[in-house]
């Protein structure tokens, strides 16, 4: 009996001691962590301070003005450009509503989902993607650029889809909506060395054809696949035959929207 009591108390003491030591080491650990965090905080604060200083330095009005003068066509505002709000007359109630913009070639047709290529038209739908396709009768009193009153607010992802993404006319199907973002396909990456030389002449041809349409100061980067897409394709020209021909030769030909894959191939990463 006595031995058991001793055992009990001894065990209790040992357990308490063990827990105590464990706690002590935990606390020590935490203290070290805290010290490390404090160091990190100080470091972050110092970095923030540096960034603030740099931000202010880069936002110095003298520098901004210099850069605005050399890169922008903007002038300082003048007093005559300001009009008080009450000087603007209200719109007369009986004014004739401006005709809502109709899509070229299909007046009164049901509104197309944005970014889907209109069937039969070879042109890309840059302009029509943003224009609210509202029937004429509901647009009374609403200027065309404003959001129609009946339209419900779109969720974010839908709104993003509605943004003017250019769909190239040469897209083989109307699947621009389905795959708007270029994705790297493993198959597109593998034969890069073989495909890159084939792709270049086609690109060049496209560049040459569209060169006349480009604004003189537009940035030209002939090696970017997206350039093909943003370029206005002349409607009279046949919808770029080169990729199709290339596709006939090369089964691994990526889609023209697969810009990253093209880029990788062109840069010769796999070589």
């Amino acid at each position: 009996m006595k031995g058991k009591t001793w055992l009990f108390w001894g065990g209790l003491i040992a357990a308490a001691g063990g827990v105590l030591f464990q706690t002590s080491y935990d606390v020590q650990d935490l203290e070290e962590k805290l010290a490390g965090l404090n160091r990190k905080i100080i470091h972050e604060q110092e970095s923030i301070q540096v960034l603030k200083a740099e931000w202010s330095y880069l936002n110095d009005p003298s520098k901004l003005e210099q850069m605005a003068q050399s890169y922008l066509a903007l002038q300082p505002t003048e007093p005559r450009q300001y009009v008080a709000m009450d000087l603007i007359p209200m719109r007369p109630a009986d004014a004739v509503p401006p005709p809502a913009p109709a899509l070229p070639g299909q007046p009164g047709a049901a509104p197309l989902p944005p970014m889907v290529r209109a069937p039969g038209t070879g042109t890309s739908q840059v302009a029509s993607a943003r224009v609210p396709t509202v029937p004429n009768n509901t647009a009374a009193g609403i200027v065309p650029v404003s959001v129609p009153a009946t339209a419900k607010p779109l969720p974010m992802d839908k709104a993003l889809e509605r943004a003017a993404v250019v769909v190239p006319a040469s897209l083989p199907s109307g699947g621009g909506l389905a795959d708007p973002a270029p994705r790297i396909k493993p198959s597109a990456l593998v034969p890069g060395a073989a495909r890159a030389p084939v792709e270049r002449p086609a690109e060049k041809a496209a560049t040459d054809r569209a060169a006349g349409k480009l604004a003189p100061n537009a940035p030209t980067a002939p090696n970017r696949a997206t350039e093909v897409a943003t370029r206005p394709v002349p409607p009279a020209a046949a919808p770029v035959p080169a990729p199709k021909a290339a596709a006939a030769q090369q089964p691994y030909q990526p889609k023209p929207t697969d810009s990253l894959g093209l880029l990788v191939a062109r840069l010769g990463v796999n070589r």
Partner: protein, 628 residues
Amino acid sequence: MSGYDHGGPVGYGQPGGGGVPGSPGSTYVPPPAPSPYQQPPQQPSARPRTSLAVALEQSRYRLLVTAAVVTTVFTAIGVKLAMATLFAGGGEPRQHVALEVDNTTTNRADIIDRNGNLLATSLVTQSLFADPKLVSRPEEAAQKLVSVLPELDYKDLVGKLSGDRRFVWLKRNLTPKQQAAVHRLGIPGIAFEREERRFYPAGPLTSHVVGFTGIDNSGLAGMEQGFNKRLTEDPGTPLQLSLDLRLQHVLKKELTATVQEFSAIGAAGIVFDVRSGEVLAMVSLPDFDPQDPTGLNSDTLFNRATLGVYEMGSTFKIFNSALAFDAGRIRPSDMFDAKNPIKVGRFTINDYHSLHRALTVAEVFQHSSNLGSVRMVQQVGVAAQKAFMTKMGFTKPTGLELPESGWPLVPNPWREVNSYTISFGHGLSVSPMHTVAAAASVINGGLFHKPTLLKRNSDAEIPTEQVVSRQTSDLMRRMFRFVVTEGTGKSADVKGYVVGGKTGTADKQKGRHYQKNSRMSSFLGAFPMNDPRYVVYVLVDEPKATAKTYGYATGGWVAAPAAGRIIKQIGPLLNVPTVDESSPEILNSTFLNAAGSTNWQQSLPPVSAPPPSKGSTVASFPTQTKPR
């Protein structure tokens, strides 16, 4: 108790030799003393004192002492244990406490402008120092250091590294790259010290206001010096100035252009909020780069806007007219003789471009006539003028927070001749800041606000003092506007902003003489005059006339166009609504004609204005006429 061993009476044992009666180990009871109450059976003397008994007794004593000590110690340990575990609260003190996140890591507060843009901040850098005792081979160490820090001098470095001192700075404020390079060298005895470096993102733009600090981060000029204590005592909260960086930029840009155009030696400019007394922009040219205090000289450091005191010339006619109106004896339509020169002692006061006729008060202001001004002050009197100028703050520093605040040069005694010259702005030298603050009080309804460089809270009460009456202020606004519509300040006009102002040109005094070809040309403008909100002041030091200005370098030709350009650019930034100047509401509050009439509806053509209403901007300017 085992006291019975000795047969002694229980409880009556006298403690011999220091026994503790209550202690647990007290087993010894000394031989009882003879007691009158009890008769011991044996006399103590009868007991045999054997050696055994002695030994026993001794060991008892020893045991007793040992037990006492042990008890004391264990009691003490027990008490301390209880205190340490039960009453100590949280155990041992924390080694680390969490940082407060909003704390700043630096020891000197930032300075920001009224929109929160950084004007001065402290960045943490590392400085390199050496303990020469620990440097084993100074030549080799110096060689290595020079290879990564080429700006250090080898010989100097060897001298420093082989000295006897225990601490010597090698280079302050290394860049991180340099630090890494030095660190990689691994030279013993060389170490880094965390230091702060003051950095001015706006650079020279605000140099005269913000000032700069020395290498030990103590303020040496500007707000850095004026608020040195505040900046170091409360490093967490930034010091917010009333400056607006955008206005500052516009002001500096236009002043620089003016200085270049007229090959001037300097310029000063101030944008001032007449409603709150805040200085929104203040520039003095030439300025300096506060990052690099090595190349500073006294000319660039000199703040012309606050430290320089100058004879202001014709801009002082603002105060002369306000004094005349406020005295109540003079109305704008009163006529004063501006034909006959005034002789005071050996001096003769004259208008060089005299119109040779009597002028109304409005015309005196319009043409900046010295004679008319003197006639006006003659009616008011010397004492009233002195009291008025004192009220305007022209006899003491402005009270601006900068340490660079100039004392005005006040004539003592203030004689009659002084009062004459002061009436047209000579003989009393004040700083541009004085002039601006006083002029603001003249047009804002008569409330003098002490100028400040600190941003006022929107709800804070602004200390004010009524210095002129509202009626006087109203008349003065019309006079200001009249100068810009039909007087010497036409080139300062900006359509839509109802600008008013007064030009000024003063000959500079070199030694004891006034020089005819070195002058200070200035323009004090305000807008919008129907409800003044901002004063724009431009002062150009020694402008040289150019072909474009037909040989003139007066305030109307030099400073007024610059002020106009400034107003044109800062008006939109300050949210001043543009108005139609010819609308009835505006004319109601700003109209004045040469006859001194404020009634614009019977706006007859100015009765007495001469066909070329072009006087020189300045009385002292020695030529005939000048357009604008």
